[in-house]
Structure formats: C-alpha cells, structure tokens
Amino acid sequence: MVKIEHLSKTFIQNGIEVKVFGNINLEVKKGEFVSLIGASGCGKSTLLRLIAGLIQPDSGTMLANGEPITAPSPTRGFAFQEHALFPWLNIYSNIAFGLKMLGTFKNNKSLVNEWIERVGLKGFEKSFSHQLSGGMCQRAALARSFIVRPDLLLLDEPLGALDAFTRMNMQDEILRIQEQEKTTMIMVTHDVDEAVYMSDRVVVMSPRPGRIRKIINIELPRPRSRISGLFTERRNKLLDILHFGGEEKEEEYKI
C-alpha cells in the first residue's frame, strides 16, 4: 500500500538547516492500522505530511499503490489535529466538500446524508463548526475524509484536543468505520494507550535526527479491551521503550 525508502527531509529555519530525518524506511500493508509515536521533534507529523503529498522530500522514494507520491490526492485522506472544518460552511457542506471538488456531488447527494447519519450528526446538518463540540466536529471531519473513499487515511493526532471520554468514544468510532471501509490508516499520536488500543503496529520514532527506533507488532484480538492484562502489559512495555517506565534503559524489548 505505502512504501517508503531512504526518505530524507530538511527544513530551513531562520536560515539554519534543520535535518528532520535522514533515512526513513517504512512499509504499510493494505488495511493495516499503523501508529507513529515518539517525542516531539522526531518528525512524525512531517512524515505524515510527506505521505499526504503536502510537502516534498529532499531524497528517497515514496510509493502509494505502486505510484510515486508527488502531490495531494483524495485517495490519501488527511485528518487534521484541529478538525480543520471550514467555518464558513455548515456541517452538510463541509462533508460534501470533497464530492463537490471532484464534481461528483450531484449524483451522490444521498451519500452525504448517509455519512451524516453514520457519524451521528443527523439534525446538525445546518450547524456551523463553532456551534458544535470538539468531538462532533472531529466526527464531521472524519465523514468529510471518508466520503471520497480514500485508500489511505492519514491521521495527525486527530483526537489530541478532545477530553478523555470523548476521545475513547472516537477511537471506537474510527475503528468501526475502518473495519467497514477497510481503509489503511497511519496515525500520529502522543498517547500510548491510543496507539496500543488502535494499531496493528506501532512505529516508535526518536528525535534529532528523526529515525525509526523500533516497530512493534500489537497482536491482540479485536475488539480490544482497555483493561485486560495483555493490553496493560503491552502498554507498559511501550512506555518502557519510550523511557517513561521509571528507569532509563536502552535494551531491546520483545513484545
């Protein structure tokens, strides 16, 4: 689905070159849910924006479905940190935006209503984003992304701004839609629980320069329980790798 080889990216900040990462290799299979986790500055968001085609790499290759990634495409959706709904459009028009841009809105009007219902926003079609809660906005944003049927959805901490309960509900909601749509997902997160709960694989990145430190398979059956012993065990090990386990260790761990 996505294949990244020898990817490097440098930003110029105040005239100084800052190397985000030098040599990233990553392969994501179709239908897989992969999380990118790591301290800030490790380049996870940059990696996501590169895959989206919003920015260009300095060198290396990126393939999506075998095609090189050169520009943004509706086949690769993107869920932004702050929902990024257009405040001047109501919820209905926001969700329909992608279809309108592709010119397929007129033949797909029922699809808009279908998605409004699927994310539980029936009755809020005419509302504007500032009139809704953060969770509702993020649901609308998900519907806006999913409606154009992307093969791949890139999530840049989409739940970061939500409170804990809304966040857990949204995690389930995203997983439910993913299961129905079979969308490949790559998600940036700061939340270890979220990564373990949602992902098939967790990519642990470390900063300066950004690199992939470890890729961990989470082989727990779905739906997962947040309180099971196996879940906690994996979460603790991941925390350990991220050096939040209490003592500093640089050993290899097998989960």
Binding site: L54, F86, W88, L89, M101
Partner: protein, 296 residues
C-alpha cells in the same frame, strides 16, 4: 405615548410643516402601539426605544423653542424646523434629482472601486508575482487622500462625471484591496491543505476557500470604502457638478439659504443611513457563520 410631550410643545407655529411632521410621527407611532397590543416582541421593542424617542423629541421641542419661538439664535443661520421641512416638501422633485445624480455617481465609483479593489486584493493574496509588483503600489498610492488627485484627474478625464466617479473609485479601491489581501494572508494554511487533500486545485482553492475565509476582512474593507466614498462624493461634487446633493448644499450655502442647507444635510444623513444599514444586513446574511461577529 411619549409623543404627547412633543405634541404639547407645538402651540405656536408660523408655518405648519413641523406640526404636520409631528402629527405624522404621532400617527405612525400610534399605529405601532396599536400593533404592539397583539405583538409582544414589538411591544418590547417599543418600550425599549420609547425613552430614546422621548428625549429626542424633547430636544427637538427645546430647539424649536430656542430657534423658532424666541429666535435666540441668528435667524439667518438657524431657520425654523417649519422652514427646513418646507424646503423638503416644496423642492422634493429637485432634491430627488440631486439624490439621483449623486446616487449614480456613487454607484459608478463605488462598484468600480470595490470590484477593482477586490480583484487587486485577490491577486496580491494569491499570486507572488502580483504581490511583488502591486503591494508597493498599494502601500504608496493607497494612503493618499483620493481628493489629492483632483488636479490630475481633471486633465485626464473628459467629463466631470467621469472624474468624480474615478475619484470615488480610488477612495473605495484602496481599503477594499488592502483588506482583501490581508484577509487572504491571514487564512490558516490548514484550510488550504484540507482543500488540497480533498481535491481542490488552485482555482477552486481561491474560489471556495480563499474568498469565503477572507470575507469578514473584505467586508471591513467595503465598510471603510463606503465611508470614504461618502466623503469623496461630497467633495467630488464641489469640482463642478451640475446636480448632486453635495453640490446642492454648497450652492445653497453660497446663496445663504440655510434652510435648504439643513434640508440637504437631513437628506444626506437619511440616504447614507439607509445605504449603510443595507450593507449591514447584507453582511449579516453572508457572514452568519462567524462566531462572535464584530458588532456595529
């Protein structure tokens, strides 16, 4: 009910127009009071504004006493309300012609300037090349009072009408262009990214993201432009117009016909008030989405 106060103060009258005016106002007010018996919202509104109208008509009554009844101020410069209203009634056709003439000038200048300003602003906002060449022009030429161009425009343009229209156009162009460009520059990149992801190309990004997102700024520019256009209109009519409300006021001032000057001022106030109110209504419709709208 408050109108009993002004009504009481019109015992002495030389010309009856002010009385007519008060009677008409009283009739209108009575009509609204009658309506408000059944309409609760209207009744609340009337109650809220009753104090304002009471004081307003009290002031008018006092002024009427000072000016008309006791002639405490120079009569030449302070004609009675009866006289002023009399001008409006007697010369209404001529005044209407003047208003029409001014409106035509304002329409040419305002729409020309606003459309050009919008195009300039959008070009600067979205094209680096345009920004490179046009920004300095805007910043250099824009702040100049457009009236400073009068001597040059009079030479370039063949008629007084075109000169005046261009003058108003320049006055409107600058604030609209500046605010449009700044509105676009202030749009969060995330919106454009979201648009790109959803398949919006460059043109669609401008049309469906840039312009709506910048609309609040654009409206601010249009409001500034409107105010500038009013100022410029009155000045523009001094440079040799044949009709027009600004010209009328100046002409009557030279004739020392101050009743006519006041009549002209009242008409200008009412016209501009209506225009600005219309613009507010339009803005409220277009910008319903705005959170915590700037109140005017």
């Amino acid at each position: 009910m408050q109108h009993f106060i002004p009504n009481a103060s019109e015992q002495t009258k030389s010309l009856p127009y002010f009385s007519y005016f008060l009677i008409a106002i009283f009739a209108v007010y009575a009509f609204f009071i009658a309506l408000s018996v059944k309409n609760k919202k209207l009744s609340e509104k009337l109650k809220y504004s009753s104090l304002f109208y009471a004081v307003l008509f009290l002031i008018l009554a006092v002024l009427n006493l000072i000016i008309a009844k006791f002639a405490l101020l120079p009569v030449l410069y302070f004609p009675s309300f009866d006289k002023i209203l009399g001008v409006i009634v007697k010369e209404h056709l001529f005044l209407l012609k003047c208003v029409g003439y001014s409106a035509r000038l304002l329409a040419y200048g305002f729409f020309g300037g606003a459309i050009l300003g919008f195009i300039t602003g959008v070009s600067i906002g979205f094209s680096k090349t345009m920004s490179y060449w046009l920004s300095p022009v805007i910043h250099l030429v824009g702040p100049m009072p457009s009236t400073a161009w009068i001597p040059i425009l009079l030479v370039i343009f063949p008629t007084v009408v075109s000169t005046s229209a261009v003058l108003i156009g320049i006055a409107v162009w600058f604030p609209v262009a500046l605010m449009t460009a700044s509105g676009i520059a202030n749009i969060s990149q995330t919106y454009f990214d979201a648009g790109k992801i959803l398949g919006a190309g460059r043109f669609k990004s401008i049309l469906f993201i840039g312009i709506p997102a910048a609309a609040p700024h654009i409206f601010l520019g249009v409001f500034n432009g409107t105010c500038m256009s009013f100022i410029t209109l009155v000045v523009a009519e001094l440079i040799g117009a044949k009709y027009g409300i600004g010209w009328y006021i100046n002409w009557q001032k030279d004739m020392l016909a101050y009743a006519n000057v006041y009549a002209g001022l009242i008409i200008i106030a009412v016209c501009f008030y209506l225009l600005v109110t219309g613009l507010f209504k339009l803005r409220d419709r277009v910008l319903t989405w705005q959170k915590g709208t700037v109140k005017w």
